[in-house]
């Protein structure tokens, strides 16, 4: 008898949910299934998606990063301010990525060296970065640099008639690919899985637990900063007050994407699907017109609950399986 490996069950469930959401959308609304809507979907959820890839690593390692939304907003306003001051766009982006990575690494150090709970440290990060964003500039800054106005729109690919894949969507897909490679094809990625699954065993197996943990939070900071850059492409501005609660969307995407919230199990492409599910739900609600936007939150919350309970049931069955094996 071929049984499905239990670690694929949440992943498969995600795929089923994605197909179901997309299918019902296409059945209900004639224009829903067009390539153009799909491309828009990728474009609209690009910055959430990039940040969610970083969040996936943290959750895989058994932690949580609540600073994502603030980080995206902070890097956004930082870049806008630098561009306003006449800085080269690539230098500005480089600075943004460095700042994100370093903040992530600092949080990782606090978590590892002083054994502080991750949710608390990243909560402090959330506060700090949100406030620092306002220190840089209390109001939104529009970006009118020629790179944003003229170069970016050309960096797009026609994938189907009337469907242009914008650069933001490409960044999103690239992040997913890079994330997948990192997670599945490097020692670092495998160590993240091992630590998330059982930190004590990982230590006894001689894996570099501290280094990996700190690197994980640094990586999440880096991806959040990249998400901030993509957000400036998308919004053509930076705003310190924006993206409040983005961290919840990112976490929800990761969990709905089939990653175990306790760590150790999950796939980065699952996060892509999770982000798409969230985006599709929003699209359906927009297409419907009579349903209001708050339904998005309720549906996301319900999906989150379903996946958490599903994971709990699977892990419980796993424990019982191990007991029976004794």
């Amino acid at each position: 008898m071929t049984r499905v490996n239990p670690k694929y069950i949440p992943f498969l469930a995600t795929a089923v949910v994605l197909l179901a959401v997309f299918g019902s959308g296409s059945l209900l609304y004639p224009n829903f299934g067009t390539p153009r809507v799909l491309v828009n979907l990728l474009n609209d959820s690009a910055f959430v998606g990039v940040a969610a890839v970083g969040e996936s690593f943290v959750i895989l390692s058994g932690g949580i990063d609540l600073s994502v939304g603030s980080m995206v907003a902070f890097v956004g306003i930082l870049i806008a301010k630098l561009l306003q001051a006449g800085c080269d766009p690539f230098l500005a982006m480089g600075i943004g990525v460095c700042v994100g990575t370093v903040s992530g690494a600092v949080m990782g150090c606090l978590i590892y060296f002083f054994e502080l709970p991750p949710f608390l440290v990243t909560l402090a990060g959330l506060f700090c970065l949100r406030g620092l964003g306002f220190v840089i500039n209390p109001e939104s800054i529009g970006i009118d640099h020629p790179f944003y106005g003229q170069v970016l729109p050309q960096l797009s690919i026609l994938v189907a008639p009337k469907a242009v894949l914008p650069f933001t969507a490409m960044c999103f897909l690239a992040s997913v690919i890079i994330g997948t490679l990192l997670a599945s094809f490097t020692r670092f990625g495998r160590n993240v899985y091992a630590i998330g699954s059982n930190e004590n065993s990982a230590r006894l197996m001689g894996l570099p637990v501290g280094r990996t943990k700190i690197a994980t939070y640094a990586l999440a900071g880096c991806f959040s900063a990249l998400g901030g850059i993509v957000a400036t492409f998308y919004m053509q501005s930076g705003n310190p007050a924006s993206f409040v609660g983005l961290e919840l969307d990112a976490i929800a995407s990761v969990v709905i994407g089939g990653t175990l919230l306790t760590g150790g199990v999950g796939f980065i492409p699952g996060t892509l699907m999770g982000v798409l599910i969230l985006g599709l739900i929003q699209q359906i609600i927009i297409f419907n017109g009579t349903l209001n936007s708050w339904w998005t939150k309720i549906v996301i919350g319900a999906l989150l609950l379903v996946f958490i309970v599903l994971q709990k049931l699977i892990s419980r069955r796993g424990e019982q399986g191990a007991m029976a094996g004794r």
């Binding site: 490996n5 239990p6 670690k7 490679l181 599945s184 094809f185 490097t186 020692r187 495998r190 160590n191 899985y193 091992a194 699954s197 059982n198 004590n200 065993s201 990982a202 006894l204 197996m205 001689g206 894996l207 150790g264 199990v265 796993g318 399986g321 191990a322 007991m323 094996g325 004794r326």
Partner: protein, 508 residues
């Protein structure tokens, strides 16, 4: 004799207040399986941890193939060729078998992991153990026995010279153990040195070439297995306890206090798969029943079943003629059972609460959330027990963490006495407490008996069991092997039961 593979000379390691290892010598030849034996606290695991660099040593030399080594981390020890497989399988259950074998040392190509090479290497490592598995499957989908073998394969994957197995068989069944031993013999014949730690006597005699016995951090001796009769091994491990325990008179407690023949507790065929073979057990009011056996023989498992911590999957339990099924300690407590657990720190004390709070806890729990014991009554109760049990504490509001082990134990006894139990299960009540406190605990047990309570007394110190009990149930390898009554109880008789009873198989 050629240079031994591993030689340890005068290894000493102290923790604050304890000398965990005191000038221990040890030698292991190539192609030898060497059993390391000893009761709890003998120093086995400290020896292993110092050897593998988890703890720093205080003094002594370690030589591997004649070269002095001093590993500072398990990783360094591994690179020297010393690999360890722990009792709990320390692998990553969610990852594949192949990955578990290669984790941390995956073959890469410019930083990119070569999954094909990993699978090949894992298959090769498993082939050394004559094992052929689907290495791409998740580790947790295999039985514990296979996981254990995977752990060994991982340990051997780096050119290991010395393999340390810390209680590898405690979760395996009979056939799985045979299978494991077959593989160990093959590895031994290939020239590997193996240190084997276990508490199963049968297994020691089945697999090991020589035995080193530790007791209280000292080496008792090193013996060739075939020259050491079981009874001697047991007595080496348990030792002659030379303690000035307050003389309770060599005249042992008599059965006079037993009030009736009707048992208070009556277990028939009570057992749980993987933890305890079905056993029969009676405790009568006014009787102390001793539960004797070596570490891991099923003593604590019995206590857990009786107290509803684990659920039995077979057999019946009657308390005062009424059939009961406990699904939680709460249910057991309601029937008048009390338990002081083996591990005081984990399951006994609430470390940051005061003596008073710790004492009233169980009584309050039986009264429920809302009917709170008035403070005045709590204080009266606490003072009474502090006085009656002579608990040495500056005052009743002292945080229990700051008390000595013996006084913590007395607080736990007080916690349960306050609930006025009918049956008291005492799991190692005298472990880790000083001689004076031990005597007091023993005296208390006798007075409980006189008051008509039933007591199930679990201890690894045979002398104590002999002195306290009117009946002794002997356990070995998680099954009841003997029951000694009044006239038959002696340390020698118990040791004989532990060492020689073989219900299923003749001695190896």
């Amino acid at each position: 004799m050629a240079t031994p593979l591993l030689e340890i000379i005068g290894l000493t390691k102290g923790f604050p207040g304890v000398k965990a290892l005191d000038a221990v010598d040890f030698a292991l030849q190539r192609g030898e399986i060497h059993a390391l034996m000893g009761e709890n606290g003998a120093g086995k695991s400290t020896l292993i941890k110092v050897l593998t660099g988890v703890f720093p040593r205080d003094a002594g030399d370690t030589r591997l193939e004649g070269h002095v080594i001093a590993p500072r981390s398990p990783r360094e020890a591994e690179s020297l060729g010393i690999s360890t497989v722990y009792q709990e399988v320390n692998l990553i259950p969610h990852l594949s078998v192949a990955e578990n074998i290669c984790l941390g040392r995956q073959p890469t190509w410019f930083g990119v992991i070569r999954w094909g090479a990993i699978a090949r290497r894992a298959r090769a490592a498993l082939a050394r153990l004559d094992l052929s598995l689907d290495v791409s499957r998740q580790l947790s989908s295999y039985s514990i026995a296979i996981q254990q073998l995977v752990a060994i394969a991982r340990a051997l994957d780096i050119s290991a010279k010395l393999l340390i197995l810390d209680e590898p068989t405690s979760s395996l069944d009979r056939t799985e153990v045979e299978e494991l031993f077959k593989k160990l013999r093959k590895l031994r014949d290939g020239g590997l040195g193996i240190i084997f730690i276990t508490h199963f006597l049968d297994q020691v005699y089945e697999i090991s070439d020589s035995i080193t016995v530790l007791r209280n951090g000292c080496r008792v001796g090193c013996f060739a297995t075939r020259d050491l009769p079981r009874i001697n091994l047991v007595s080496h491990m348990i030792g002659k306890a030379v303690q000035q325990v307050e003389a309770l008179g060599q005249k042992r407690a008599s059965t006079a206090s037993i009030r009736s023949d009707a048992p208070l507790l009556e277990a028939r065929g009570l057992g749980r798969k993987g933890s305890l073979q079905p056993l029969d057990l009676d405790v009568r009011p006014g009787e102390v029943v001793g539960l004797a056996g070596l570490l891991g023989s099923g003593r604590t498992e019995t206590a857990r079943l009786l107290f509803g911590v684990d659920r039995p999957d077979q057999g019946t339990l009657r308390i005062g003629h009424q059939a009961v099924r406990f699904n939680s300690p709460r249910a057991a407590i309601r029937c008048g059972i009390a338990l002081t657990p083996e591990d005081r720190k984990v399951a006994g004390i609430i470390p940051n609460l005061t003596v008073r709070e710790n004492i009233v806890l169980a009584l309050q729990a039986s009264r429920g959330n809302w009917r709170r014991l008035p403070v005045a009554e709590q204080e009266k109760l606490t003072d009474r027990f502090i006085h009656a049990l002579d608990i040495k504490t500056p005052n009743r509001e002292q945080v229990i963490r700051n008390l000595s082990g013996g006084n913590q134990q007395k607080v736990l006894l007080a916690r349960w006495l306050a609930t006025k139990p009918r049956l008291f299960v005492l799991d190692e009540p005298t472990r880790g407490i000083d001689v004076g406190a031990k005597a007091e605990v023993e005296k208390l047990i006798q007075s409980l008996r006189q008051e008509g309570l039933g007591v199930l007394f679990i201890s690894s110190e045979l002398e104590e069991v002999v002195r306290q009990s009117q009946r002794v149930v002997v356990l070995r390898d998680r099954r009841k092997v003997d029951e000694l009554t009044e006239g038959e109880i002696s340390e020698e008789a118990i040791m004989h039961s532990i060492a020689t009873h073989n219900l299923e198989r003749p001695a190896a």
